[in-house]
Symmetry: C2
Subunit: 224 residues, 2 copies
DNA sequence: AGAAAATGTGAGTGATTACTCACTTTCATA
DNA sequence: TATGAAAGTGAGTAATCACTCACATTTTCT
């Protein structure tokens, strides 16, 4: 199985090198405008002429940098997909020997806080990605590949590690992962997308959600 | 505040009467085709000519029944939004005096099972609704109104009821509700949308998810 | 400075879009 | 069976779409 053929791998390598392929000022304006309008009206309902207008650029300039409108979308959605899973690429996830967390709670807390901040900083991009992913097979495969190969497999090892230590109930790791993901995604979606105007204590929110999760997946206080 | 002005109320009343406004065979074909293609490619990327083609109907026939393309969308998305919250309209939710559930667990179980089955039977419609809701203000307001006035307020009373009985930890009801919703939606999304091909034991899944939720929100086994 | 390359422009193109309308067919009822 | 209404049709329409291309401007390199 040659990993070099996976399209998302190149995405991640480029991300690791922090290589920014944006060359000119106007190209930057085009990207900004596209992100803005795509997140407002959706990709299919956005016209290239409107993007050009908001970017203060001639319509032809868009196609100088991006072969097609879809190419423009992918240059936006691809990187954000990579950045979403990027923190799970950390070396420590592979070898749990020198794992930096002694407690599951600390592990989940650091992920929850980090991804909450990330979501707030990249709300528009995430909205675009989630919205378009079901309709573009390449995007779907890219995201699926990242999630299964990077996120799922790595966190599964972590969960097994903590299960062996008795910190997590005996259950299929995917159920533990799904529970944690559900609770944290529910928290993030609420504050970032549903009621972003409502202020909240970030630490308190994470802590209370974490509390419910930990009581849900800890052996402590169970009779079995 | 005159409730008769709320657009979603009419939706729900019509639903209660089980009134089906579809008059002709061809209109039914149009709806079927539209649901199919909208869920495949999204509303904006679907052309009326394609809908007519798949429905085996002349394009003009669509506009005989629906003034505009958007009108067709709303006639699909509106009813499914109403059906999503319909079970929470049950009388029992209002007066918790003669409440049919003695245990929170039973309450959440019945909701989870019912909505899981509902989601499987209406996957395409739900996909269309969730997809288009952010881009159509009328739809957004309709759904928001339903969720806050019907679902949120009613379930809040139920949670307070069980908190008073000591079955649920002392916490803002919305946090309890969000936790339950997150876990169940996570389960439903997984099985209905992410990996629908993967078979699973429905009861077992609900029971295990419920187990994690209950340990998360029960006072039992806590030291506080 | 001068040549070559990269970037930017906007009028122009054929295809497609949602929607109309004059007309035909089907249906309900008296 | 006659008649008006409802349902169905498909060619036609103006607008908009993504995209091209010959040309202008700026940047880069020698």
């Amino acid at each position: 199985m040659s990993e070099t053929k996976e399209p998302w791998l190149g995405e991640l390598l480029r991300l690791a090198e922090a290589e920014d392929p944006v060359k000119t000022v106007k190209q930057g304006k085009i990207l900004e405008a596209a992100i803005e309008i795509f997140s407002e009206k959706g990709y299919a309902a956005t016209s290239t002429s409107e993007i050009a207008q908001r970017a203060g650029v001639a319509e032809g300039t868009i196609f100088r940098h991006y072969k097609t409108k879809k190419d423009l979308l992918l240059s936006i959605a691809g990187p954000i997909a990579a950045k979403m899973v990027a923190p799970f690429l950390m070396r420590e996830f592979a070898k749990i020997i020198d794992f930096p967390y002694n407690w599951v709670e600390d592990f989940f807390r650091s992920i929850a806080k980090d991804r909450l901040i990330f979501a707030r900083q990249n709300a528009k991009l995430i909205k675009i990605l989630l919205h378009e992913v079901p309709f573009h097979p390449e995007l779907l495969e890219q995201l699926k590949g990242m999630l299964t190969h990077i996120v799922f497999h790595r966190i599964e090892k972590v969960v097994l590690h903590f299960q062996a230590q008795g910190q997590v109930i005996e259950a299929p790791p995917w159920r533990i992962m799904r529970s944690a993901a559900s609770l944290f995604i529910g928290m993030i979606v609420t504050h970032v997308f549903l009621v972003p105007e409502h202020p909240f204590d970030e630490d308190e929110e994470v802590e209370r959600t974490l509390d419910i999760l930990m009581h849900g997946i800890s052996p402590a206080g169970r009779n079995a």
